[in-house]
Every structure is written in structure tokens, then in C-alpha cells.
Symmetry: none
Subunit: 298 residues, 2 copies
DNA sequence: CACAGACATAAACGCACCTCATTAGTAATT
DNA sequence: AATTACTAATGAGGTGCGTTTATGTCTGTG
């Protein structure tokens, strides 16, 4: 291995360009320099690596063989450097996540915990907001990564389904209804309903589902915050349409009870969203990996 | 990958020596040079790779990680170089030859035998086919070297006449003709003729020759394979136009007999063909030399 | 405290590599 | 056939850069 390694860099470039002049431009050096380098490499290896023809150069059989090794070797060095820069950046950087409070507390907390434990030097910032708001923040670069319900138009986003949410109907344990009865859509619609305000995506989703079945949802009460909704349902104000995953605590404690239904509203997915043309910061990439890797491999 | 690759060579040596001074000796450069190289590498990667202590240096965590990549990469380059030198010394590699079955068995066999005996590590592959087919294979790089009847258009080929073939007319020993009579072109043309199919180059050559003398060849029987032609001629079906060199065995055994002719069809040459702008592999060059060197120096 | 051994630093040197300029071959124009 | 436009190769010369030499600094050791 006495060959000057720089020559391999040139070799690789020329092999890929198939053209010394073009390779020289890629390398930001003169054509002459590249030509000399190739000549030198061929001398040192005592092997013809390229055949010269009028439209450029092409690898000989031996050249092809060597190229495979060189390409792999360069690849290794590159990934080595990449890993290095990643770990370096994970020792000083920040990560800004856009997600709703509920998603954060119900789904993300364990990942945030682990991530912070492993990379204590990374400052984590969480911007709360509903789906369409955090997607806006993502587009404008205010957050590195966002969690949102599957957006209608993917646009410049790359989405990755992470968590499933199920819409269910609940009521306070004392509410005068039959918790053993299996309710139909119509029966549910006739209850005094407690729903989130109309701009909440889960509310819209629910409405859409009922509308597809010819039913109009006419809530008794509309609320802006999920906690209020839970409170009102708990004191027996009516039947609340909520996301099951966000009221697990209340269901377990018995404060709320789920109504049996004859229908099942298709689950909605909370997606990890990133801008599809902007490379992630090391921290963001790492956090995304954390989440993705721990998902049930659907 | 803007890092100067030479630095990795130094890095690897230092990592393995665990000692800058020792590494410098291994690299046959000064301690200062090594020290500066490591410093430069650490700067360019913006990462501490070694921790300095009084007895030398040792890799940091990041350094260890990087070292694995560098070691593998260097290993690849080394084995690449090794393979290259093996090929150069004909200790390995392959040789792909395009030639017709007849040329192979009548002309090439002894060379193949000698070559394989001398360079047993070279894998030899022979692709069979007619002249224009193997020339196509040559152009497309499927074979390193081809043997074909002198092609009409040399194009990007370099050809080298190797073997001469003579077109003659033969018949079975019992065939009712006068084997002492000297036949003219016209007389030959009047026989019931057995010829190869029209796409065979030897057939075309024969036709062309007769046409130049104002005669049209109208064969009784056309065949695709030379062996069939021999069989039919042997059982007295007619007079066959064949290449003398390909029926030597039958002529010697007396199964076929040659008709005397007043004319002599100019011999055709089987040429060794290579692409004129692509350097040969070591194996191909060597085989070509084998063939060329043993020819009667015409 | 002096000494040895290891790495870091400074400065000057000299060559390898680069740039520039020209030559030369081939293909595709007209 | 002459022209144009590619290509790669070659020659010459200047200089950036990695090297060497020399010295400094730190740590552990007798």
C-alpha cells in the first residue's frame, strides 16, 4: 500500500465520469492534473486502468475490478466520517419538535425521556399545536420534525405512520346509559354529545365518518381543550367523542367508561413528518430513528 | 470527503502503534510530521481522535469508531491492489474467447491446452458462434478476443491473420465421379452440390467467388451443421463445398476424397480480432501472443 | 533535581503537484 | 477535404504544502 491514496480519489471520480475533463471539473483541478494522476496511478500499479478513446475514457477489465474495491473503500471512509460528524453534533445541538400536547404526553414522552438520557447535551424544545399548525411550523422551518395526523396533501412532506389513534365514545361512570348495550351510529348521534371544537382534526374526522353514514353530528357542547371535555363527561354532562389513547388513564381509573358500539371508526394515524427536501439535523435524525425503530414492524 | 486520504494512512498507523514516534518510524517520516498530520486530521474532522498521555496516545471512543472504518477501507484497497498484481502476473483472472466450434477444435485447441497448462489459475471461457456473432460479442465487450473470418469492415477492430482456410470440393469415396479428372468451375457447378446454409461466411465466400466468374451456385442441399454435411457427402449424396482444414480427418481416413480442380479458390484467413482502442487484459494479451508467436512468420 | 521519553510547536526548506500552454488524435461537422 | 470541437497527452515552470530540523513543554522516574 505505497500508492498515494489521493490518486484513488481521482481514479474514482474519473471512473464515474468516464471523462477526464469532466472529472477535473468535479474535483476543481485542472485536466492536466487529473491526466497526470491517472498516469501515475497506472504506473504505480503497473496496470492499464482506462482505455482512452475519442469521447473520453472507460475502465478496462482490471480497472473495473479495482473500481469496485475503491468505491467500497471510499464509501466506508465516508460513512465513517458521517458517523463521526453525527456523534459530534449529538453532543451539542438542539431538537425542536412540533406536536400536540396529547401526542406528546401520550406517545412521545418515553422517547423524549430516553433521548434526553442518552444525549443530555441536546436541548429539546417542544412546540405545541394542532396538526395543521405544527405542519405550518415544519414548512417554515420553525421545527425540525412534526407529529401530525396524516395530512390530506403530503406536498413536500415525507410522512411516516407511527401511532394509531381510535375514536371512541365515553361517558361518566354514573351517566344514565346502558354500558352493556351495543349502540348503533344512530343511537350515538342521539345522545347529548360533547365534542372538541370544529377545527380539531379528530372532530372533523368524526364528523366526516358520520356524514358518510348519512348522519349529522350536532353536539350539545363544543370545547377547545381536551381536559375540559374529560371533566364535563366525567360529571355526567353527556357522551364525549374522544380519542381512546388520550383517555386511557380515565378509562382505567373508571372515571370514564367506554360505550360499546356496533360500528368501528377506522383508526387514524399520527405520522412523523419531515420536510422531504431538507436534510435532518443529526439530533432530529436520531430522534426519528428512536421512534421508528421501536415501532411494531407493521 | 474533503479530508486528505493520506491522513488516514497516518491515522491508521498511529492507532495501531499507539505511539506517534513509533508510527513515524514505521512510516519512515519524522515524528513531527506524524504529529502534525494527526492534528490536521482532528481539525478537519473537528473531533478528538486520540487522547495523549505520557506513554503515548490512545484512541478515543470516536477514534475507535473511525478506526474500524479506516481499517476496513484500507483493507479493501490493499486486496484490490493485490488482486490487480495477481492479474498482472497471470495468477488469476479470466479470458473469454469468441470463436466458432470448428475454429476452436481445429485451430485453437493446442493453444488453449498450452495456455491452461501454463496459467492454470486463469479461467477460460469460450463463446461459440459464427464470425459476425462473435464480432458483435467483441464490440460489446462480452469477449476479450475473437477469432473470425476477415471482416469486411474493420471498423474499430484490430485484426491479425492467424490461420488460412481453403475451400475445396469433396465427395464420398464411392461417388460416381472421376477423382483424377481436373474439374473446371463450370463442371463443379453442375454437380448436385451440398453446401452450408447461406448465413455461413464460408458459403457466402464460395458464392461470391463463383459469381465473379459468372456462375450461380445452386445447391441441392443446404445444411446448418458441418458434421451433417460431411455425413451426407460420405454416403454419396453429392459434391460438398467445404473448408479443407475442417475435414482433414475425413480426407486422411479416405471417407471423403478431394476433387481436383483447374481453379484455386483464394484461401481465407481466420483473424484474431481485438478492439482497437481497448487495452487487452493481461490474460488476453498473453493468449494472443501465444497464437501469434507460433505462426509461420508470413 | 536532572534526565528520559513522549508529544507539540516553529520555521525554513525542497520537492511533488498543480497550472498554464501547447500538441495531437479522433469524430462530426460543412 | 477542410473545419470545428471535442478529447487526452506532454512540456515547462512556479509554488503550496508536507516535510525536516530544532526546540519547547509536559509527565513520570531514578
Amino acid at each position: 500500500m505505497s500508492v498515494k491514496l489521493e490518486l484513488y480519489k481521482v481514479f474514482k471520480e474519473v471512473a464515474e465520469a468516464g471523462n477526464i475533463t469532466a472529472a477535473a471539473q468535479s474535483l476543481y483541478i485542472s485536466q492536466s492534473a487529473v491526466s497526470q494522476s491517472i498516469k501515475q496511478l497506472e504506473n504505480e500499479l503497473q496496470t492499464r486502468l482506462f482505455s482512452r478513446n475519442s469521447r473520453g475514457v472507460s475502465l478496462t477489465g482490471e480497472g473495473k475490478m479495482l473500481y469496485e474495491y475503491v468505491r467500497s473503500a471510499m464509501g466506508l471512509l465516508e460513512t465513517g466520517e458521517a458517523k463521526l460528524s453525527q456523534t459530534r453534533e449529538l453532543q451539542m445541538g438542539h431538537l425542536t419538535i412540533g406536536a400536540s400536547d396529547t401526542v406528546t404526553s401520550q406517545f412521545l414522552l418515553p422517547y423524549l425521556d430516553r433521548f434526553h438520557r442518552q444525549y443530555p447535551a441536546i436541548r429539546i424544545q417542544i412546540v405545541s399545536g394542532r396538526s395543521h399548525k405544527v405542519l405550518g411550523l415544519l414548512q417554515s422551518g420553525k421545527v425540525d420534525i412534526a407529529f401530525a395526523s396524516t395530512p390530506a396533501d403530503p406536498g413536500s412532506l415525507t410522512t411516516f405512520p407511527c401511532f394509531a389513534t381510535h375514536s371512541v365514545f365515553v361517558a361518566g361512570a354514573d351517566y344514565p346509559c346502558d354500558f352493556d348495550h351495543v349502540y348503533s351510529l344512530q343511537e350515538i348521534a342521539r345522545f347529548p354529545l360533547i365534542l372538541l371544537e370544529r377545527k380539531a382534526s379528530s372532530r372533523l374526522y368524526l364528523e366526516k365518518y358520520f356524514l358518510q353514514n348519512g348522519l349529522h353530528l350536532d353536539p350539545e357542547i363544543e370545547l377547545g381543550a381536551r381536559s375540559l371535555l374529560v371533566d364535563l363527561a366525567a360529571i355526567g354532562f353527556g357522551v364525549a367523542g374522544v380519542t381512546e389513547e388520550f383517555v386511557t388513564r380515565e378509562l382505567e381509573s373508571g372515571r370514564l367508561k367506554k360505550l360499546k358500539t356496533s360500528f368501528e371508526i377506522p383508526p387514524r394515524s399520527v405520522d412523523l413528518c419531515v420536510l422531504h427536501d431538507v436534510p435532518l439535523t443529526a439530533a432530529a435524525a436520531q430522534f426519528a430513528s428512536f421512534v421508528k425503530d421501536s415501532l411494531p414492524l407493521a
